[in-house]
Every structure is written in C-alpha cells, then in structure tokens.
C-alpha cells in the first residue's frame, strides 16, 4: 500500500446540503479558526470524531452528487478545511465548489467513485485509486478558470496579486 493513501472516514449520500455541513444556527461564527467545531454538527458521531481529533488530516469523506447544495455560507467550507479533510464526491454544487477553490479545500470530482468506510484511497491528479477494492476511478479536472485560482494559492492570494498590479506605483 502506498504511503500516500488515506482512509475513508465517512460515506455520505447525494444532496448533502450546507445545512448539514454547517447548520444555519451557527452562522454568527465566522472566523475560520472558530468554525471547525460545528462541522457536521447534527451528525453527532462524525462531529465528535472530528473534534476529538480521531480523524487524521488528509482523511477522505466520500459523497454522492450535488455535495454542498444550498447556501453560499463560506463557513461550510472553512469548517471542513479546518480539519484538512479531502472531499471526493460524484459532484458538487456550484457555489460550494467555488468556495472550496477560493479557500483551498481539496475537492475531487469523481463521478464513478466506489468506496466504503475504512477503504484506503489514493487521490492522484487524474484518478482515485481504491486500494482496498483494487479499482480506480477517473477524476474530472477542475475547469481551467478554477485551476488558476488553486495554482495561485487561493483567491486571497490571487486577488492580492491583481491589486498590486492595479497600483504599481504604491
């Protein structure tokens, strides 16, 4: 088994909404340092495992289609980002995917993914290898427009660069 493999810590169904990822009642909490405590708050077991640091950084959550549907609340991304969890999903909702790109949450679009909790996955640029099942699944590349933001290190860095270009004689 490759040393790059990560364990699947949860399997989630289609249409996981931002209300599941980060319930609205916690929205007054905005600081990325404070939002992780409410990650999947109503999925009590998963929330407890995350908060107790039972889940190592780089672990994978595998989800169905339309992951992150609903609100534009960025906390839904920063809360997961706080644990450096990788989301491998069959598909993502638009705003969630964009927020992930902007904040640097690793989101992998893998429409055919098959995995069970506990499986060892290796996430490569073009495919996800499920070593436990002995199968691999192709990854859809991020659209070019989004890859440029990832390459710049997120939207803050990307915008900062553009701001400095705008005021060359500061």
């Amino acid at each position: 088994m490759s040393h790059h493999t990560s364990k699947v810590v949860a399997i989630l169904p289609n249409d996981i909404s931002t209300d599941i990822i980060y319930p609205g009642r916690f929205m007054a909490t905005v600081l990325p340092t404070e939002t992780p405590q409410y990650c999947f708050a109503d999925m009590v077991e998963l929330n407890k495992r995350l908060k107790n640091k039972e889940i190592p950084q780089g672990s994978v959550i595998v989800a169905g289609t339309n992951f992150g549907c609903g609100s534009s609340r960025e906390q839904a991304v920063s809360t997961i980002k706080g644990y450096e969890i990788v989301i491998v999903a069959k598909g993502f909702a638009r705003i969630f995917l964009q927020n992930s790109v902007n904040l640097g949450l690793k989101t992998v679009i893998c429409p055919a993914i098959e995995a069970s909790e506990g499986d060892e996955l290796e996430v490569l640029p073009d495919k996800v290898v499920n070593h436990t099942k002995g199968k691999s699944f192709p990854v859809e590349p991020l659209p070019k427009a989004r890859q440029a933001i990832v390459d710049a290190g997120g939207l803050i860095a990307y915008t900062k660069k553009r701001l400095l270009e705008k005021y060359p004689n500061r």
Binding site: P23, A28, V30, C69, V77
Partner: protein, 429 residues
C-alpha cells in the same frame, strides 16, 4: 453570433461583441450585495490588503449594498458585535446603500434591493447569499458567491474567472387555475429538473404565463431557481419590469431592454402548461421531493410560516388574509408571518391584511430571515412538522434536525392553518 440573455449581459459587462457558454470572463459588477456575512467579507477584504501598503478602500462604494436581515434584531452579543463592525465599515467606506434594522427602510435583502430601485435590467449582480438569483426576475444576471469572492469583488470591481453558463430555456404557457400560483410552478419545475438538474446553468423563463406574471411572481421563480442548482434564474425585462420599476421602486428606466436572440443556442428546452397544474408540495428533506397536494394525505402540521424572500410579498399576504378572513388558525397550530420588507408590512397594515391575519391567530413577526434558516424566531421542537412558504426544507433547516419542513404556496399555508393538516386551498371557502 446568436446569444442567450445571460450571454448578452456578459458581453455587455465585458465590452465584447459576443460571448458564448464556456468562455472565461471577468465581468464588471454593477451591484455587490451582502448581509450579516459582510462581517466575514470585511475580514477577507482586510486580508487581501494586508502587507500591500495600499490603503483599504472598496472599488466603488455606490455599487455596494449591505442589508442586515438574517438575525435582526440581533439574537446574541456575537451577532450584535458583527453588525456593529459592519456599521463602522459602512461609515468609513461611505457605503450609502446600507439598510440597517429600521422600520422605515429595512427588510429582507432580496426584497429591499428591487423595491429601492437598485436592480437595473441588464446588469450583473453578485450577492453573498445563494438566493441572489432572485434579481434575475428583473432581467439581470444575478448569482450567489461566497464571502472571499465578495472581498475580491470589493477590491477589483469584477468577478474573476467567471465561466459563462449554458442556459436552459423554460417555456411556460397557460393560465394558472384558481388556487395555483407561481410558487407551485417553480416547485413543479424543481421536482422535474431535480436538485442538481440545472447545476452550473441558467434558467431563462419565457412564455405567455411569464409575460402575464407580476414581478412578485417572477421573483419567486428566480429566487428558487438555485434550488435546482441553477447559477441564476432570469426573466427578460419587459413592460411589466418597467411598470414595477416606476410604480413600485419609484425609478424610471429608459435603457435598452436586452432580449435573447431567437436563434440562441440552449442546452435544453422545457415546456410547461400551467393550466393543468395543481398545488405542489416539496416534502422533507429535499426541495426536489415534490408531489401534487392530492398525494399528501393527513399530514398534521405544528407550525406554519408565511414569509421570506420567496413568498413574503404583498400578494402572498393578500392571498393568506383572504383565506383566513373571519376564520381561525387551528388551536394546536402556531402560525408565523414574516413580511419580506417593512414597506410591505406597512402596506399590508393599510390594506387590513395584517389585522385579518392577527384576528385569525397568526403572529406577525418583524421582517427578517431568521426562521427560514433556523437561526432565531420559530425554531421547531423534536418531531415538529413545519409547513412553510420559504425556499428550503433540508434536514435541520428550521433549527432542528429532528423536525420536518414541507414547502408550499401562501394559499396552501393559509388553508392548512385553518385545518391543521396540509390542505388544498381550492376546497376552502
């Protein structure tokens, strides 16, 4: 080259003669809206300027709107402190389109924007709220973005790396039967498309039903387009849009009304005849779990909510007041009414709708979003069933993961308030 409406708007916003779906652009923004999450936008905005030696200044304060609406009046010291931070920022940056917690000009952002004339046909509007799609009702390309993306817009005045979305054309014909409303149409469409059927695409609405529909109804359609995953839901601006701007927003508009080209290329065309449409219900826990009301048998409700950016407008309150006039909300039902803005609240007072709703037993709340997303006012008990004219019924949406939310029109909500079970308004006199 023939263009869809969104392609035309984006061509205009980038100064190009034509653009096509899939192009990556950097459109100029005409209006950038946020609400309480402006507190987070301010953090990210400050982060962008950090160590640049450039003084903190938004690109154009006249194009920024901030409306406090999600948790008003503040439900906690944390929220109050965030709101104070926003007020300080607004003052320092000279942002005039700021609507604080006030009975003369406040309300829910997606109502406050159009009724104050901030939504101009053909423009590009971004908002840190997924229901920013609402403003497509006046022929704009309006879409939701996150707080960091908004901080970037505040800095540069453009949205970076926007991919021109493909468009699904929705033709709607026929006359709504009595008791059936635009809310039933959009629920039906979401059920048909599924919650991701329009992901990364725009819904463009056409047909005689749309032509005859008021801006209020169009706002309901555009508002909920995002529930099918759509980037935006757009209605080409027309005579009705001009009427709305003049009579309800008190601004004249003499600019061009952009129309999509007849031979524009669409990803999909959907046709709907509303003359046979029944009242529709979105059942727990997804917005696309839509059924005609005839299939919803004996569902007892504990709380009924009329309001929000989806159905808290004057026509919704009128429909509810007409159904509830001289009747009573069932003893074991709590009915909450949230007018979409204070302007609507006041007009509903003048017309007597508020008194009729109160006489029936409804509680009139201040205009805000709190209940819809479960942050305050109207949280549900374990096992509660809520019937709501709002736009989402995800698990936990109204503050409790052990409750259920059904979505419907204001007419269904009002009829059900009387009986205490989900009820077809066509059977209620």
């Amino acid at each position: 080259m023939a263009m869809t409406l969104v392609e035309k708007i984006l061509a205009k916003a980038t100064g190009q003669s034509s653009v096509k779906a899939g192009d990556v652009l950097e459109p100029l923004v005409d209006l950038a809206m946020s609400h309480e999450n402006a507190a987070l936008v301010i953090n990210q905005f400050t982060e962008i300027y950090k160590d640049t030696g450039i003084s903190l200044k938004v690109w154009d304060p006249s194009k920024i709107a901030i409306i406090l609406d999600h948790r008003v009046p503040a439900e906690s010291s944390k929220t109050a402190t965030n709101q104070q931070k926003i007020r300080d920022f607004v003052g320092k940056q000279g942002i005039a389109k700021f609507h604080d917690i006030r009975g003369d000009e406040g309300g829910i952002c997606h109502q406050v924007l159009p009724e104050n004339g901030y939504v101009i046909p053909g423009s590009v509007i971004v908002g840190t709220d997924s229901h920013t799609t609402s403003h497509g009702a006046l022929g704009t390309f309006a879409f939701g973005i996150g707080a960091t993306e908004m901080a970037s817009v505040w800095t540069l005045g453009t949205v970076l790396n926007v991919e021109v979305p493909g468009t699904i054309k929705v033709y709607v014909n026929g006359k709504f039967p009595s008791g059936v409303y635009p809310k039933d149409l959009i629920l039906y469409l979401i059920g048909k498309l599924t919650a991701e059927g329009a992901n990364f695409k725009v819904l463009e609405f056409h047909g005689e039903t749309i032509n005859n529909m008021s801006t209020s109804g169009r706002l309901t359609l555009s508002n909920m387009s995002v529930e099918a995953g759509a980037t935006s839901g757009i209605v080409p601006a027309d005579e009705e849009t001009l009427r709305y701007l003049l009579e309800e927003a008190f601004v004249g508009y003499k600019g061009e009304l952009l129309k999509p080209d007849i031979d524009a290329k669409y990803d999909q065309v959907i046709e709907i005849d509303v003359s046979k449409l029944n009242p529709q219900i979105a059942c727990p826990h997804t917005v696309d779990n839509v059924k005609p009301i005839s299939e919803i048998i004996n569902v007892k409700v504990n709380q009924i909510v009329i309001g929000s950016c989806t159905n808290g407008r004057l026509d919704d309150l009128e429909v509810a007041a007409k159904i509830l006039k001289g009747k009573k909300v069932a003893k074991d039902v709590r009915m909450l009414v949230f007018p979409a803005s204070w302007r609507i609240y006041r007009e509903a007072l003048k017309r007597g709708y508020i008194a009729e709703l109160m006489d029936a037993g409804a509680v009139i709340m201040n205009s805000n979003c709190g209940c819809c997303l479960g942050v305050h006012q109207g949280a549900l008990a374990d096992g509660d069933i809520s019937l709501s004219t709002t736009n989402r019924n995800f698990k936990g949406r109204q503050g409790n993961p052990n409750s259920e939310v059904y979505l419907c029109s204001a007419a269904v909500a009002a009829a059900s308030a009387i009986t205490g079970i989900i009820t077809d308004p066509r059977g209620v006199n």
